[in-house]
Structure formats: C-alpha cells, structure tokens
Symmetry: C2
Subunit: 118 residues, 2 copies
C-alpha cells in the first residue's frame, strides 16, 4: 500500500503511520515528487510521529526527499521526529540543517506558512 498524500490548498500533507520498508519509502519518494509536479504545491508537511525507528537507508531517503522537493520548489517541514529517529539522522550525518521542524501537523502548517511568507 502506498502512503497517501493529501492536498490542502497549496500544501501537501503526509502522515507516515507505519514503519517504512525500503520499497514503500522509494515509492513514497516517487509519489511525492510526482504530486508536487502535478499540483504545483509550494509546501509539504511530513509527519513522522508514528515512526519509531529508521535504518540508514530510510534515513538517507528521507534526507533525499527533502532536498529533491526543495529543488522542485516545495519547502518541506518535518514534524513529530521521535528521539530514536533524530539520533539515527544525526549519527548518519544527515543534519537536515535548513529543514524546519515542528511538534505536530498543526504546528508544521504554521511553520510552513511562516517560511513561505519570508
């Protein structure tokens, strides 16, 4: 099953509520980029609240998704990053330095609006 991508105004909302396996993650990357292209979305919120753990491959894909979306003109906000996920990302050198983060979906949307207004 693919991860659903919801379109709300100019934004795309994704809530990942499953542990990501390699195939699902790659499919998600492809689906998200296609959806940005189709909808001309200017912002994306990816909520990771329910992702307890990621391995190095998934962490790399997440980092890539952010950079790729950025290249396509859509700003990504990550929300609900769990402790173990944060540790894996930093351990792997995926610092996501310019990526805004927030606690949950609501805060993420507020942040996205702020970022895009700047």
């Amino acid at each position: 099953m693919r991860i659903p991508i919801l379109k709300l105004h100019n934004y795309l909302l994704i809530s990942i509520q499953t542990e990501l396996d390699d195939k699902t993650a790659i499919q998600f990357q492809e689906d998200l980029l296609n959806k940005i292209h189709e909808t001309w979305a200017t912002g994306v919120v990816i909520d990771l609240t329910s992702v307890e753990i990621v391995d190095s491959y998934i962490a790399k894909i997440l980092g890539d998704v952010v950079s790729m979306s950025d290249l396509m003109g859509a700003k990504v906000v990550l929300t609900g990053i769990q402790p173990a996920v944060a540790m894996t990302l930093i351990d792997l050198g995926i610092h996501l330095k310019d990526v805004p983060t927030a606690l949950d979906l609501e805060q993420g949307l507020i942040k996205l609006r702020q970022e895009l207004e700047e």
Copy 2:
C-alpha cells in the same frame, strides 16, 4: 498497512488512496473510532477521490463508519465520491441522506465548518 488518519485542529482527515479490501476497511473503522475517542474530534473528512469502485461489503462498512462516528459526536463529510461508488451505494440502499458531501478535501473542510456552526 493501515490507512493513516491525520489530526488537524478538531478534525480528522483521511484520504483513502487504495482499493479497500475487507481487512483494511474493518481496521480503518476501528482505528477511526478509536481516534475520535482519543482526540475528541468534532468532525471527520473522508476523501474517496482515489477509490474507483467498492463492493457491497465495503459500501456497508462506509455507511456504518458514518453512523458510528455520528453516534460518537463527530460529523462526517465524504468527499470525492466517484460515479461507480455513488452507484453502488445507492443500489445497495445506502443513501447516506444526512451526510454532507463535497468535491475535494478543501471543500470538505469548508462544509464541515458550516455544518458544525449550524
């Protein structure tokens, strides 16, 4: 994989982007009711844009989800009902008479706000 349920303010948003099999549909019903209970959501938007077809069992579950959510105090708006899905629902006598519907997620949220303000 379960269907993700997104919480945004007092509302729950669901976009079903897969053909529903029996197991997924039952799991979704249970997950949604639990989430309404947990979050005290007052409204639910279920977007069916990507559901091309439903069988009688799935149609019944959809009708049930609406009634059950209503009993729990959450108003449901259905969006993006496709022609074949509309036909199946009516053929089966599931008229969803008091259920507001809308074209897409954005319109669904607007409708939900109107319904809840009344």
